[in-house]
Symmetry: C2
Subunit: 356 residues, 2 copies
């Protein structure tokens, strides 16, 4: 199989972790006789510095012309004081919108060799295996008007949460499709006792559910969901929700495993290339020190192989290699504990490759 992968290392630790993940992909390609062609583009802070915009057109073109996208992370204090449009995150929001990446998949799986890293009790998280499906190109992130105003002599400010029925339907349908290949349960999270958009969301979820009679659908209010994720996370299989709720809940859920350094993500569109990135940020404080945890990025490439290229076995091989490395006690600083082996970024990559 020949595939073209757009690589956007981004800022901070982005370059190191992406370099490591690409080494892993190359080994898999050799082992299984595939050809992965990597082409590089700029996004975020680096793009602001070089191109004067966080998402240059060349990067958009590169991505559209690829089969999948591997992203490191963007952002850093250097650009924090910029105007909103010239901040690295603006590039992230823009690429999601440009490529129609409406479905953000955030799997959260307890890794038994790591359960001590969590602040939650072992018995609460042992066996957790859930997937948050977050709507990524609509809602209050993109609605208009979003502006400061003066009304009756009062200064005020407005943001708008808006969704077309179609946008709601396609993300909920995606959640049901995922539930079909998982444990056949969808928890749709909304705030239907307050928001009109949530009422529409709930109605559409009930409609879509009719096409998936094998899947159990449950509705949960977002405040309750924020509790239940800590109280009893094993109750969840697929959780689907709108953009802002998904932002909050997926970061909350990431704490179940104890470290953001282990969590991968995929952002999928209807027909175009999917984008794969670690759930964590660019960690400028440890950039360039060969300390960053490359596992979330490596696990993101496993998602890429599975979701974009349908290379299920190859994806599994990577995931199993990561598990074995952890079982052997190798740990980057973010997940290190007593009686484990402190491991650098490049060593960790080597260990994973050894296990493939």
């Amino acid at each position: 199989m020949e595939k073209k992968i757009a690589v956007l290392p981004g800022d901070g630790i982005g370059k190191e972790i992406v370099a490591g993940a690409i080494e892993v992909l190359k080994v898999v390609a050799e082992e299984y006789n595939h050809q992965f062609i990597f082409e590089y583009g700029r996004l975020g802070g680096e793009a602001i510095d070089v191109d004067g915009t966080p998402l240059p057109q060349a990067t958009v073109d590169l991505c559209k012309d690829s089969d999948a996208i591997l992203l490191g992370a963007v952002g850093g204090p250097k650009w924090d004081q910029n105007t909103p449009a010239l901040r690295p995150e603006a590039g992230l929001l823009a690429i999601r919108k440009e490529l129609g990446l409406f479905a953000n998949l955030r799997p959260v799986q307890a890794i038994s060799s790591l359960t001590d890293a969590s602040t939650l009790k072992k018995e609460v998280i042992d066996g957790v295996d859930l997937m948050i499906v977050r709507e990524l190109t609509g809602g209050i992130y993109f609605g208009s008007p979003r502006e400061r105003r003066e009304e009756n002599g009062q200064r005020m400010v407005v943001d708008t949460l808006s969704y077309t029925n179609e946008e709601i339907e396609r993300i909920i349908r995606k959640a049901f499709e995922l539930a079909m290949i998982r444990n056949k349960k969808v928890t749709s999270v909304d705030k239907a006792n307050v928001l009109e958009s949530s009422r529409v969301w709930r109605e559409i979820a009930n409609e879509v559910a009719k096409d998936f009679p094998e899947v159990e659908l449950e509705h949960m209010l977002v405040d309750n969901a924020a509790m239940q994720l800590i109280r009893a996370p094993k109750q969840f299989d697929v959780m689907v929700t709108e953009n802002m709720f998904g932002d909050i809940l997926s970061d909350e859920a990431s704490m179940l495993t104890g470290s953001l350094g282990m969590l991968s993500s995929a952002s999928l569109s209807a027909n175009g290339p999917g984008l794969y990135e670690p759930a964590h940020g660019s960690a400028p404080d440890i950039a360039g020190q060969n300390k960053a945890n490359p596992l979330a990025t490596i696990l993101s490439t496993a998602m890429m192989l599975k979701y974009s290229f349908n290379l299920i076995e190859e994806g599994n091989v990577i995931e199993e290699a990561v598990n074995r490395v952890l079982e052997k006690g190798y740990r980057t600083a973010d997940i290190s504990e007593e009686n484990t082996k402190l491991t650098s970024t490049t060593e960790m990559v080597e260990q994973v490759i050894n296990e493939i």
Copy 2:
């Protein structure tokens, strides 16, 4: 001191827990020579049944004519299928708005005799003492337009997050005032990398901070806050945020203590009476069975004594009584564990009274 207290028992377990809390208040009144006059009103489901509306005008008048309001809880399956305007929660939203209850205070304190009840590790929550200050009468809960539309032949739906600068300023100021009598740190939670309203929020927080040079102000993005609450909750003193973020984060934070049955809340206005209620719901499944935990409601009356009547000693007496009862091992079903004494609602109230 003579005070008039409006009592709104509401639905489900509301009547039992409010009855218990009033007994406690009566004992305190006797002990300290105050006169509390209780007058009853309807809110929520009961009001829908009797008055045809979740918030009858008589209840509004009663509240406005009182020095403080004690609320049980509203809601139940009986009214779940009603149209939004005829649901019990609509009464809750309406009373907040009618009485201008813009500041919702939700203290979260680890109770050492109860730390085993949490799903978080003991060392993570031991010593937690934070207060979430949630804006309660603005934001996406009340903004307009909020409607379904058709645009370019597409069905869509819109909700609006809006704030006047004044609304933002008064809640942030309240948070700083509270920090001054606590540990002098304010964490302002927003989503300034996405929302225009959050950018205004952050600017105003920086302005208000100038009036409180002794208080440390920190800004935190809401997704990060959702993580930090689980990762390291002891870092927080006062956390202030807008309505919807506050709804989610305060319920998430409530899990730190292991049971919603222990958490009190106060909702304050600029000049009018404050409203005090437990953070939990009406628990229709156990209503009328003398099983409900009255402690959150009892602790809410302690907040009432302190915040509305400035009766600090009397409030402390109630809090200390509750602590002693827990130390002696009395537990309602929601917090019962091995080697504790299973206690009914009425017995629990008696135990608290014995300790006063």
